[in-house]
Symmetry: C2
Subunit: 383 residues, 2 copies
Amino acid sequence: MVSIIGTGHSRFGRLPESFEDLIVTVAREALDESGIAPAEIGGIWLGHFNAGMVDDGFASSLAMAAHPDLRWTPATRVENACASGAAAIRGAMDAINAGRVRAALVIGAEKMTHLPTSGAAACLGRAAYQPEEAGQSFPAIFARFASAYADRFGDPTEAMAQIAAKNHANAMANPLAQMHKPLPVEFCREVSDKNPMIAAPLKVSDCSLVSDGAAALVLVADDLAKGREAVRIAAMEQVSDILPMSRRDLSVMEGPRRAIAAALAACGTGLDGIDFAEVHDCFTIAELMIYEAMGLAEPGQGARCLEDGTVMRGGALPVNLSGGLKAKGHPVGATGVSMHVLAARQLMGRAGEMQLTGARRGLIFNMGGAAVANYASVLEGAA
Amino acid sequence: MVSIIGTGHSRFGRLPESFEDLIVTVAREALDESGIAPAEIGGIWLGHFNAGMVDDGFASSLAMAAHPDLRWTPATRVENACASGAAAIRGAMDAINAGRVRAALVIGAEKMTHLPTSGAAACLGRAAYQPEEAGQSFPAIFARFASAYADRFGDPTEAMAQIAAKNHANAMANPLAQMHKPLPVEFCREVSDKNPMIAAPLKVSDCSLVSDGAAALVLVADDLAKGREAVRIAAMEQVSDILPMSRRDLSVMEGPRRAIAAALAACGTGLDGIDFAEVHDCFTIAELMIYEAMGLAEPGQGARCLEDGTVMRGGALPVNLSGGLKAKGHPVGATGVSMHVLAARQLMGRAGEMQLTGARRGLIFNMGGAAVANYASVLEGAA
């Protein structure tokens, strides 16, 4: 079993810090919080997408600037598009579970806002299958999910507008979020000058943000968790799909469904045992389809989770209390680590205004590409 | 313990295949050789540097095109510059040693020759510390090692010429090598029209090649190795250094020394227990300094290994019987996997004209960046 004993998290948004400084700052925060001496860290894992966004092409060792005692520590970058953060956690967990490492420093980081929007979009587009999908933006790619969903089940755009409004409302309680601006559902529903269509049926309000940011975790084996405030990673399951969208059913998210079902099974619980979820709302259609992948609703029925309040703050299973990628921000390599940091803080009772009273178990779902690299985790707080 | 039961290896050089086709071809070869059904593969790891060389920014799932049963298998890209291949092996080993995966498919791949030399150099340059070293080519970076070495110990260029000549001679026996052209030591010694200075004191003959290529391994836990022809990974140790060269002693390779010493210690042997080595001769000065990092010679005395024939074919510890990066080629993400494939084939007695009679144990050293990510492995054949 692997536990989280330290967390670090920058503000997300347009930040003045360099890529290296972002990494170093969150690494120090997580180390300080953990109480683990840097010399005890047995491995460093960096989740980072890049794909042209920064010139730092070999970034695994940058975290060593956080403390001189980190020199000589094995350091590795892991990349799985927007699930690079979860991939880094997975790598560290394997090393701990193999008995090779007792304490690991895991960082997710991305620097994006220095690029023009078109430049960031071009880099992100490299997470698609190039022989068939080169030049398509990610909004266009997720619009294909929305269209397939609409064709099979009917128009999802009202539910998408509600998801955007919910996540912006939730972000008001998250001081680290990029956006602190409520978006009324009426605004999200309508195409307007301030909410133009990006890739039909996705409007600006359906898209997550271009962000700078970083997050970090200190993960430890059981013996080092004893006597410390710790959150257990009760399960983490990865399911990867083939890359080409042309060969997949885009009306459902099958990889996410398999990953989430496997994670719940691995810790012997159902959704009724989960108190909250942080899921990968890179686009509002993704969050809607993830409700169905989670089993919160039958295929095509995800909108009911909004209508009956299930996923709202105060509902049976609030989703994205942090504001999600939609409003918290989405520095892609940082996102998976950020989800685990904020879920861990919920379970430690340190989530501030976001706090869900009595939260004991959280589900996390981080996704790379168009439902290609799928990671589901369950975190558990102290009993 | 983790064992190699299947290997795949493309020719290295200027290849017509796409990046995806290179991956798929070596994956199939390794799977076929292993006798493991694709459905039994529990995880895929891809070692790949990229940094702008191909547009495929999210390549972990590409190997799934090798067989339909690979769909849903967790797939992960790992990047540690020119040690990305070893980093992928390390990730797979951790998952196996953690009991999460019983059989893993590990691939290293890079596609470089479609770029003009300046373009490839710019991408490779991203493996340096950008705030201080941006715009320096890797020949210029390794020239700094050569200069520091010369300042402290005297001129290494005669030894460097001998290393180039040795590795080109060795590559004549490797049908997969990019270069099949002996380079006389006299040619390597002299600056000439055909051997110009690239970054003093490094001439063309001191530099490894720009190459396309891929290599693959099937790694398994003990229970799946039983009854199969298998090579054990007796040890694999990683030591990472800080990135900025300005803060390091460039007259020695301390990270490589630590990694190699740890790997030998982990399997309870000294160099006298090693029959051959494949080491990271991205530049001839690197191979020279690695002799010293291995403990084959005292600091500054590496040239003696050439003078007394130790590292030559037929010597006590032949180094780079494959031709090394210098003549076999250096598709950067593939290199670490290639080293393990060719060493495993030596230990299985399937190295063809490269075969070293009675080889039982091989040392591998794969390096990312300027001695930053350092991986040393020891492979053992059947007793």
